[in-house]
Each structure stands twice: as C-alpha cells, then as structure tokens.
C-alpha cells in the first residue's frame, strides 16, 4: 500500500483517559497514539472498544478525564472555537435532519459553517456531483436509502473544507455496494491531503485503510498499516480443503488442536490460524478425510485481531451438549423443515417481498443476504410468523403460519436484532420469564435454566441487571432465552452485529453445534464472513430472490478472468449489480 509522505502528526493523544461514571471501567484507558496528515486511519474494534469516545474527544465534544489531546497543535476542548472550522465530524446516523430535503440539509450546514457566496455555489455543485445526489435535491433526507444518507452526511461534513475528517462508523447500516462507493470518495479526499479517521466494527473494511488502530476495551492493542499487521500473520493462515466429511465437525475437532488459535468455516473449506509458522495441525485428528490438504492462504486483519486477543480454544458448544438431537415426526419432510412458497408481501403499492420460494432441510444453516431495504427482513419476519404474507405460504414443519401460528411458534426459537431482552430485569428474571412464556414450569423450568446458565457461563451474573451486561453476555443471554423450549428451528436476525470477533466465534460454535444436533437454522446477516458459515444462501434484492446456493456456488457465479478468486463480498456486489443491469435491459426493451 502506498502511504503519502508523512507531514507529521495531525492528531496526537497522550495518556488519554475518559471515565463517564465512577465504578464503571473507563471508556478510554491511558491511550497514546498519533495520526498522520493525509492518511486514512481505521479505528477498528467491537462495540464498547472506545472508538466513538475517542472521536468525540478529538472533535472537542468530550472533556478528557486525564491526558492530553492535540489536533493540529491545538487543544480541541479549550480551543474549540478556532478548531471547529478545521474539523469535520460525522456522527453515527450521519447527523442529518430527516424532515429536511437534501438541499435544505446542505444549506443548513453551509450556513452553520459560514460557507457563502461563490464558494457556496461551487461546493454545492461539487458535493452534489461527488455524491451523485443532484437528482434528489428535493427529496427529504428521511426518504433516502442508507447509502444515500451516508453520502449526504459526508457532503454536509465536508462543507467548509475541513482539514480533518472524523467519521464514526460510516459503514453501519450501509450495504457493501454503497460502502465501496463511499470508499472511493474518501480515498479521493485523502489524496487531496485530508486527514481521515474512520471508525468501524468491520475488520474487512479496515483492510482498506492506510493505517489501522485495533482497539479493545478502551485501549489500542495493535497499530500499523494493514499490510504490516497482516504480514505478521503470513504463513499462519491455512485452508483445510478437499474435505470429505462434515466441515462443521472438522472445525470442532481442529479447534481442539493446540497448534490452532482460530478457525472458521469458509465455503466448503475450514480456515485455520496456527500458533507458529510451520507447525501444522494434525489432519488425521480432525478426521478431515483422505484427500484433505492444507493450503496456505492470505492473512486477514481479523486474524491479527484475534491472535492479539489470545485466540480461541475449544470448538465444543456447551449448549449443543445439553441439547437433545432433533427427531422429526415421520410426517414431516426432512428436506422441507422450513418452506416458503411464492411468499409475497405488499405494503400498499410497494412490494417488499416478491414471490420468494425456498426450502430448508433439517440441520441446515440457511442465510438470507441482501442490501438494506431489499426485503430480507420482511421475508424473515413472515417466516417466523411476525408478518402475515399478502400472498403465498410460509410453512414451518409443514404448518402454515397463517393458520396455526401459535402451534408453529412453539417449535421455533427467535433471536431478534436488538436481542429483545428486558433490560430492567436481572439475568435470572429474564430466564424465568422467557421459560415461563414458553410454558416451562416447576422442576422442568428449574432444570432447563440451570443447564443454560452453566452452558453459557451466566452463573456470576444471575443477579446483574441485564442493562449492565457487556454486549457479548447480552447476546449469550438472548440465545439462552431463544432456545429455552428446545426449538427444532431457530431464527436469528443479525445476531452478531457489533460484537467482537472472539464473541462472534463463540456464538457460531453454539450455532454449529445446534445444527449438528439437527436444529434447522435461518439467519440474516450483514457480515460476509458470517455468510460463509451458511450451508446455503438466498440473496434477496428488490424483493426478489436473485440467487441461491452454497457460498462457493455464489462465488463461482461471478468468477471472471479478472477475478479468479472472488470473495463473498465480491459475489454479493456483482450479483446485485447484475440484477440491476438485467432490470435496466428489461425496462429499455
């Protein structure tokens, strides 16, 4: 990667501590680092790592508890008035007024930043061209898509020509296509000399930055260019390819190998990270089959992150250990435990889901993937009985959710995006409540709660209020509540948004374990690496199913001479663009 010559540190923090309330761990814990002018630096880490607090402190919006902050050699907290014109800060949710039009938002921020006269005309023209929003100047910001909102937010931040850009999770809620476009824009800005800080929870996104700070629990655990960080991992990343047996079982066994520090499923292969270069794990112990081979692959930033955090060990799910194998009644077709038949949902004129059909077989992990607003959430909600289809049928174990919703619901577990736990109740109270509504009582209830508390390591937190739990524990609790009644089918709606990669591995260990016990799983996700865990994926776009198959099938669909080894994200983008092109040709014909 080509880094522009350093012109010195544009931003510098030394021994920075920020504490919000006594008794809580500090949001930033003696953080020292600097950011160079004219570069894009990625602040990467899970929710709660301190990314937003750091950005807000740099923007002069928070007073440091301890330590010093220098932005362009000024203190942003005390010299904010002189600095504000030089800093562009885009908060999460982009800071737009949803009831103002695109142009009105631009005008407001131009006035606030004192951009007037000719300069104003010029920058509006430039911004609208840059963001490709010129056609939408009269549209209310609230009616824009996630990607367009993000571009408008960036445009508003750029008014007044700041020298420093602080972007707080600009990629959240934005599909890969819009994210790629945003990168192009930001790259262009950096080449003009802007210093850009980009915070993200996606490690793959950070690979595109010039420089990276990996953050965890209020501190920086690694700094360097993505290349430096990834090179440290070179030779330690392997694919176990040509598997004959179940790849989930291979992964489970591989994680028991002392040489392995991390492992995930990638398409039909298992991807492993090993402790030291050259010390390979034992393929025989994994029972990977006679043809299995180890192939070295390129490292990813996530490998560096996980290995810094000590890696993960043991691929056994304590949850799966206490789950009984699913026995389906003979009347149910094991090839169609979940089935959608021409599933359609219209909201007035708008068709959110348009004749989507698929079958999911027993023990399969089935993923719904798609850009925001493409209709995957609507499809998902119809599948678990939260929305009634306008047309078509949503069947769960042969039962139509329209006619026997409660009977069907008793067999399915549902984990919602924001976990839908009662935050004011303690962990134990949540467990008792959810087991109660699924009809458990007496010894059975006590026994099940005990099992789950042990399986998820919730014992020390039983009396903790749920609101005070760390995100990872909230997620464990939510999963515990969703599987309380031992459902044969599990629905997961963006289950791991915002949690750190280690916790995400642990979560997928449980999900893999459940699938091996025969639980059928349907999941929506934004994470491309999460999509790799799925046996099959349906790609939903503009309400339609535009592709379906195994992750490798989807990748195979987009192989071209230019791109012989596409990633899941490449496949996603290419398939969506292809659908757009087909639609255009249909329209012009």
């Amino acid at each position: 990667m080509n880094i522009p010559p350093s012109t010195g540190a544009a931003l510098e923090v030394r021994g920075l501590v920020k504490t919000f309330a006594a008794g809580l761990p500090p949001a930033l814990d003696h953080l020292t680092t600097s950011f160079h002018a004219g570069t894009i630096t990625g602040l990467v880490g899970p929710d709660g790592a301190g990314k937003t607090t750091l950005l807000r402190t740099l923007a002069g919006l928070l007073q440091p508890t301890e330590g010093s902050v220098l932005v362009l050699d000024m203190n942003p907290f005390t010299q904010g008035d002189s600095l504000r014109d030089l800093i562009g800060y885009m908060p999460q949710k982009f800071g737009l007024y949803e009831d103002l039009s695109v142009l009105e938002n631009l005008e407001l921020y131009a006035d606030l930043r004192n951009v007037t006269g000719e300069e104003r005309e010029r920058s509006f023209k430039q911004m609208l061209a840059f963001t490709d929003l010129a056609r939408f100047t009269d549209r209310l910001a609230g009616k824009l898509s996630g990607g367009m909102k993000q571009k408008l937010g960036l445009a508003c931040t750029l008014l007044g020509s700041p020298r420093i850009l602080l972007l707080d999770e600009p990629g959240v809620g934005v599909d890969p296509i819009s994210r790629r476009e945003l990168w192009r824009m930001v790259r262009e800005l950096a080449s003009e000399g802007l210093t850009i800080l980009w915070s993200t929870a996606y490690l793959d996104e950070a690979e595109l930055c010039d420089d990276v700070r990996l953050m965890n629990e209020g501190n920086i655990i690694a700094s360097g260019t993505p290349k430096e960080l990834m090179d440290q991992m070179r030779g330690r990343c392997l694919h176990v390819a040509n598997l004959k047996s179940q790849r989930r079982e291979v992964l489970r066994k591989a994680l028991h190998d002392p040489e392995v520090v991390d492992g995930v499923i990638q398409g039909s292969n298992v991807r492993l990270v090993i402790r030291e270069v050259g010390r390979f794990p034992d393929l025989a112990a994994m029972e990977a089959g006679p043809d299995a081979v180890l192939v070295e692959v390129d490292p990813r930033l996530e490998d560096a992150f996980i290995s810094r955090l000590g890696g993960i060990h043991g691929g056994d799910s304590a949850l799966a250990a206490v789950t009984r194998p699913v026995e389906l009644p003979a009347s149910i077709d094991p090839e169609a435990v979940i089935e959608a038949r021409g599933l359609t949902k219209r909201f007035g004129e708008f068709t959110a889901t348009d004749h989507v059909s698929f079958k999911v077989s027993k023990g399969e992990i089935f993923g719904l993937l798609g850009p925001n607003g493409a209709g995957k959430s609507t499809t998902f909600k119809m599948k678990c009985g939260l929305l009634k289809p306008t047309e078509g049928q949503a069947l769960v174990m042969g039962l139509d959710l329209k006619f026997s919703p409660s009977e069907a619901r008793q067999r399915l577990g549902y984990m919602a995006q924001k976990f839908s736990l009662y935050l004011g109740l303690t962990v134990e109270q949540n467990l008792v409540f959810f087991s109660g509504i699924y009809g458990l009582d007496g010894q059975q209830q006590k026994g099940k709660i005990h099992e789950l508390v042990e399986a998820f390591g919730l014992r020390p937190y039983l009396q903790t209020k749920t609101v005070d739990l760390a995100l990872g524990f909230k997620q464990r609790l939510a999963l515990a509540c969703a599987v309380m009644h031992e459902p044969q089918i599990l629905f997961l709606d963006e289950p791991t948004s915002g949690v750190d990669p280690v916790t995400r591995r642990e979560f997928w260990t449980h999900i893999n374990g459940l699938a091996q016990k025969g639980v059928t799983i349907m999941v929506t996700t934004h994470f491309m690496d999460e999509a790799e865990y799925c046996d099959r994926i349906a790609l939903i776009y503009r309400g339609k199913r535009i592709a379906m198959g195994t992750p490798d099938d989807l990748k195979g669909m987009v192989v071209t001479p230019d791109c012989s080894n596409p990633t899941m994200e490449d496949a996603f983008i290419e398939l969506v663009l292809r659908a757009d092109r087909e639609r255009e040709t249909q329209v012009t014909q």
Partner: protein
C-alpha cells in the same frame, strides 16, 4: 446578503426549525386546531352557570302572598318548578335525583307577611351531593326572596322594610356568566400547552436523532442554539394566541376592553416563560417521551389546577397559594380577564408582567445553564 456569521447561523437554524414545524403535522395540530377545540369545549360545554335546575315547591299555605312567591320562582329562568302534594313525595323525588332541591312555603307564610315584620320564613332543602348546585339553589331562592320583598315594599310605599338590606352587584361581569372567566382561563391553559409541550420535544429530538452531536461539531454557539429554539416557537405561539383571541371575541362574543399593545406585551412575556419551561425540560431529559410527560405534569396540570381557572386561588391553603405564584398561566389568566372585562389596569397587568418576566428569566436562564457545548 451581508450577514455576520453569527446572524447567518441563527437564521439558518430558525429556518430549519420552521421547516420542521411546518412538516410535522402534530405541531400544526397543537398550535392551530387544539386552541379552537379547547376554547369551544371550555367555553360552551363546561358551564358553571346553572340553568333550569329542577326544584320542587311545596306550598302549604293557600294565601295570596304564598301563591305570588311561587309564581316568582316559576317565572325564573334558573328554575324548573315542580309543585308537589306533600313533603315526603318531594323529598323522595329529590332522593331519586329527580329534583335538586325542595322549597317549602310554610302554612303561616301569608299571615306573617301580612303582619309586615319581615319575619316570614322559608325552608330550602338542597341536594348536597352536588355542592355547587346545592349552593346555587340556596342562594338563588334567597335572592329571589329578597328582590321580591323589595318590590313588595316599593309597591306599598315603604322604605327600608327589612332593616338591613344587602345588595349585591356584579361588576365587570355584570351578567355573572362564568364563560367570561372560563375563556381567559382556557386560553391560558391552551397557551401553556403550546408553549411547554412543543418546546419540550425540540431539544430532546435533536439528541434522540443524533443531530445534536453534528450541530455541536459546527461553530454554533450556545446562545444561537437556544435562540433558534425559542424564536420560531414564539412565532407559532403568537399565531395561536391571535387565533384564541379572534375566536374569543368574534365567535364567543367576549368583550375586549383593553389595548392590543398590552395584550401583545403580556403574551410575549407569558410565552417566554412557557417556552422556557418546555426547553428546560427538553434539555435536561434528552428524551422526547420523558420531556413531554414532564411538560404535561409541570405545565398543563398546574395551569389547569393552580391558575385560578378551576379553583379559586384565594380559597387555597397558604402553602399552595405560594406555589401558584410560580405558575405563569395564573398571570396570563388574570391579565386576560381584566383585558376582556375592564381594560388596561396597571396594577393587574403590571404585576403580572413583573412575575412573568421573572419566570421567563428563571426558566431560560436555567436552560442556558444546563445547555452544554459538549456531550458530557
């Protein structure tokens, strides 16, 4: 336009706020529809005057004086007189709720009247389960009795027949129509809602939608931010005030004896304090839901209960009377009453203005203290 940056920012923020008002149907509803509905409900439906109260009359005396007095009662618009055969029958009807009171004209009524000592007596039984009506029945029978006796005395050429004579004249509300104090009272309540409820949402909304963070990262100052939250809503409040006054005067037939200028001054000060209260709550709570609840509790309810609108302030316990001094609706209500019925009265509007100014400074000052340029 050659504006200073500060003025340009303020104008931009005010414009933004106005767009938001115009595009949010609920604020239009609160500002334009609510006052009209509220005024009509308060002015017409709630009527503290009693008309056609059903009373029973038991005349035990067949004499001419007794007959005439019964006729006096029957002729009154206030009563719907039902004559009854016996005390028990009438009392039973009252117990059933059929009658609100019973007037007994005793057997010796005419004789005592004829003796001319003014010692004739009447018995009035009133249904105490509705104290207001009961008091009304008692007072009205007494009034009818007194005016009848005076008329009688005049006819007979006598002066001062009763020794001490009490004459009550209602000034400023000569017809003693309660609408004349209900309307100013309900205007005060409506204006409190508009002032406090609307502004209670506006700062909290910025926090909830994450736009406050973006604003704070621009060169906006605290003063500009506060002023931009007050000015548009002051405009909205004034429009609502004009609507209220137009409805009161031209639809409900209220007199207006004061000056528009005084009205403008008092309304401005009142809106300052009401907007200030709402802004303060919004700033402290940072959540639209909590702030709106607090605005209802701290604005609307006291305006209804403690402004002298429903309950007479002078009859409240002393500590509560002290609290009413901090309720701005009280001052608007009293000022409007005088402006409608009397005219400009320095002692009322001047006093009210001083208190309203103090409350405005208090709430806006407190809001300014709580408004931070940072997110801490």
């Amino acid at each position: 336009m050659n504006l200073t940056p500060s003025l340009r920012r303020l104008l931009a923020l005010c414009r933004k706020e106005s767009y938001q008002i115009v595009r949010d149907p609920s604020s239009i509803l609160v500002a334009f529809i609510l006052p009209v509905v509220f005024l009509f409900v308060m002015g017409y439906a709630i009527n503290l005057d009693a008309d056609h109260v059903r009373v029973g009359v038991l005349r035990e005396d067949p004499g001419p004086a007794a007959v005439r007095f019964e006729q006096v009662l029957s002729a009154s618009k206030a009563f719907e007189v039902h004559s009854g055969p016996s005390r028990e029958a009438l009392v039973n009807r009252m117990a059933r709720g059929d009658l609100r009171g019973v007037v007994v004209i005793p057997r010796d009524f005419s004789i005592r009247m004829a003796q001319g000592h003014g010692k004739a007596s009447l018995q009035v039984l009133a249904d105490g389960s509705e104290p207001n009506t009961a008091a009304f029945v008692g007072n009205y029978v007494q009034g009818a009795w007194e005016s009848w006796q005076q008329g009688l005395a005049r006819d007979q050429g006598r002066t001062q027949p009763l020794g001490l004579e009490i004459r009550t004249r209602s000034w400023f509300n000569p017809s003693t129509i309660s609408r004349n104090f209900l309307v100013p009272g309900s205007i005060s309540v409506v204006m409190t809602i508009i002032g406090a409820l609307l502004t209670s949402l506006v700062v909290a909304r910025e926090w909830e939608r994450g736009t406050m963070e973006a604003l704070l990262a621009t060169p906006v100052t605290r003063t500009e931010l506060l002023a931009s939250k007050i000015i548009p809503y002051y405009g909205l409040g004034m429009i609502a005030m004009v609507i209220c006054m137009l409805v009161a005067v031209f639809v409900m037939g209220m007199p207006f004896r004061g000056s528009v200028l005084v009205l403008f001054g008092v309304s401005t000060l009142f809106l300052g304090s009401a907007l200030g209260l709402g802004l303060f709550l919004s700033t402290v709570m940072r959540s639209q839901f909590n702030a709106a609840l607090a605005a209802l509790t701290a604005g609307y309810l006291p305006a209804l209960m403690l402004s002298g609108f429903v309950f007479e302030i002078s009859s409240m316990p002393a500590p509560i009377r002290v609290i009413t001094r901090f309720i701005s609706a009280r001052y608007l209500s009293s000022s409007l009453q005088t402006l409608f019925q009397v005219g400009n009265l320095g002692s009322v509007q001047g006093y009210a203005s001083i208190w309203l100014l103090a409350l405005t400074v208090f709430w806006i000052g407190l809001t300014a203290l709580k408004t931070r340029r940072t997110l801490d």
